[in-house]
Symmetry: C2
């Protein structure tokens, strides 16, 4: 955070974190965000049919309040998933205690959890930490960063993104702020409905009706969080929450292109940070699929490549093995003609018309994909469908992290 | 091979292998199987839309001959895929030379290739090896095993399976033999149409019409090769070929349960051998999915689990992390109710009604999955759909093998 940070945090919110004792490591594991007044809320949850207890409670609460949130309570270290009724009880007990502490309705509390699945969440530890965390609440950027750190699991670094825009209101320019933090390094292939254990919390001090807020969130998600994959595993807990406090006194209506662009920028930045901190990764790869029969086909091709262990291990070895790309394109289910496929690494020609490109330079290709971030373009020459997708390599370190995680 | 081996090789076929110089290692890389007379043929090829040149030629040849094959020519070390017209030319040149050497039509030659994709196949090396390999042809089991070895790539061991059955013909029992060899260790998630770089060659000395032969092959494939996955990557070259020489003078018609059962046994044995030799694997896992809404849903659940890096790395770590199984079931697309899911490791209760089973014993579960082969049963309690599927863990060694393979 730069010295500008005090001017980046949206007004109307306070943040804090505590060590509740859920993480075995003893690190901070409980983050609380409190809105000064009920904030407009828009949310998106995992498409996984096995969903964690807090997500069930969140949906009930948003329905009950018509999209208003006062308190966000996030624990790391335990996903509160696949523990039956005990999970719902733990989430509701946390909400009830937070409601009492902050003088709001239990339905105005939005709980989130991330961590191991299938182990009962000790809600009593979260509840016991509430007085300490309440005393620490502040709108300062330091507290914001502490909250961003407390929700991490296998992440190696906190993920934050900020945007400001000037909106003409009442004849003069008024500032609107957007700030977000998120977590996620493994089990990353968010498929949010209207489409993340990716957890993302986005805050703005604009005044926006919940319905408009949801529309802004849906379009931003579609080209950010729903366009990334580390390992192809879609979590049971993925959640993106966007809160608007209105504390800027600037009202944003529907279809505000500047606000949409600022929100997209924040979401894309966080999505890329999540990929860049993917478990054990050594390369971030941008896939640019063009010329697909339609956008859905472009996404099928991107996901087949992003989920191919053979492609991902080749990247780990800096091996320009484009044959594995061809194989993945072939089984993607997309409408293709192998003889019309062109592949480039950056601007280097690799494959033309389904065969080795005349100018193919293996040494140059190898050198190009030694870079920590690189881009692969695939032209299918079928139509005008396209997508941009971000993914990672698959390394020995990923295996170590995940073969030794829970027990 | 035991001392019984001379009595296991189906009559009417001769086998040989040679070092043609395609494999960089200098090992045997060219196998030839010659039928004494045109054999009835049934075949199944990859569903990947990028298909290797030999598969294109194979389909043409089988159409031209109405399902008759004299010579099977298999090279390892080069997949002859994604090389454009040069690939077709190389496959056809090999067929023409083999046809001349063995006095048959070029259309009666069935070429196969496995190895690196995107590098032109040096057909001249295969053609130059034909005289040596022709001189070595024999119906002895030693030659059969040499052919089985020559087609290997990253495999650590040859894969063979045998069956014999006694068929009542002309009032007396006559012996019919089935023998098969195959290869495959990575890029293993065969989706053969009527549904393998798995290559499998099955030989029988029964007399069977090509149409009946194809029907037998289709049903055998569906519950063997199409029920395995090492890494979820469906190859461009997968091929299963079943040849019937008729040399036993026993005719098998349609719907012969004993022949079907013997063929199924051979295919299932080879499929399991391929999984057991999966690249870098330390565990073979049998997934038994029951109570699905239908068989297709059962298969969706099995494949989601088999392709989940998080599940596979947990197995590598002997970690009974059933939460990752629940997550994979949840995103499989199958119709499920999380609260009705039961999971067992062998006979150990792990999960009941979507939560930790009352009798869950983590130490026992850990010990159970330390075994090199173990079984996981999932009961969805939705309907009567089921499947059995074989897969593997994902290890550091898999990454090493595939990060350093081609260049």
């Amino acid at each position: 955070m730069s010295d500008l940070s005090p001017f980046l945090i949206p007004r109307g919110f306070r943040f804090a974190a505590a060590k509740a004792g859920v993480k075995a490591s003893g690190r901070a594991d409980f983050a609380l965000i409190v809105a000064d007044a009920p904030a407009s809320a828009a949310a998106a949850f995992t498409a996984n049919r096995v969903t964690a207890a807090p997500l069930v409670v969140d949906k009930e609460h948003l329905r009950a309040t018509g999209g208003k949130v006062r308190v966000v309570a996030v624990n790391a270290g335990n996903a509160n998933c696949a523990v039956g009724q005990a999970g719902l009880d733990a989430a509701r007990a946390t909400c009830a205690a937070a409601a009492q502490a902050f003088h709001c309705r239990a339905e105005e509390v939005f709980p989130s959890s991330t961590g191991v699945i299938g182990v009962p969440l000790p809600a009593e530890k979260l509840i016991a930490a509430l007085p300490e965390i309440a005393a620490a609440l502040s709108s300062e950027s330091d507290r914001f960063m502490e909250a961003a750190q407390a929700i991490l699991t296998t992440d190696t670094i906190e993920k934050t993104a900020f945007a400001r825009l000037d909106v003409s209101a009442s004849g003069e320019l008024q500032e609107v702020r957007i700030a977000a933090f998120g977590k996620g390094a493994g089990m990353i292939h968010p498929q949010l409905v209207p489409h993340a254990t990716m957890l993302v919390y986005i805050f703005t001090d604009a005044a926006i009706e919940p319905a408009h807020l949801q529309a802004y969130l849906n379009q931003a998600i579609e080209r950010s969080f729903n366009r990334i994959s580390v390992d192809g595993d879609t979590s049971t807990n993925d959640t993106v929450l966007l809160l608007a406090s209105g504390a800027s006194r600037v009202t944003i209506g529907a279809n505000d292109a500047a606000f949409a662009a600022a929100l997209n920028q924040v979401c894309t930045s966080l999505a890329r940070q999540i990929v860049a901190d993917g478990e054990g990764i050594t390369h971030v790869v941008e896939l640019r699929i063009n010329g697909a029969a339609n956008d859905a086909d472009a996404l099928h091709v991107a996901k087949a490549i992003a989920h191919s262990p053979l492609v991902k291990t080749a990247w780990a070895g800096c091996d320009p093995n484009w044959g594995r790309l061809m194989a993945a394109i072939g089984y993607s289910g997309a409408e293709i003609d192998p003889e019309r496929i062109d592949i480039s690494f950056g601007t280097l020609p690799i494959c033309r018309n389904g065969g080795r490109a005349p100018g193919f330079d293996e040494a140059a290709a190898h050198k190009y994909i030694e870079q920590p971030e690189f881009s692969i373009s695939i032209q299918l020459n079928q139509g005008s469908g396209s997508c941009v997708f971000w993914t990672t390599d698959l390394t020995v370190q990923y295996i170590h992290i995940n073969a030794d995680y829970s027990t």
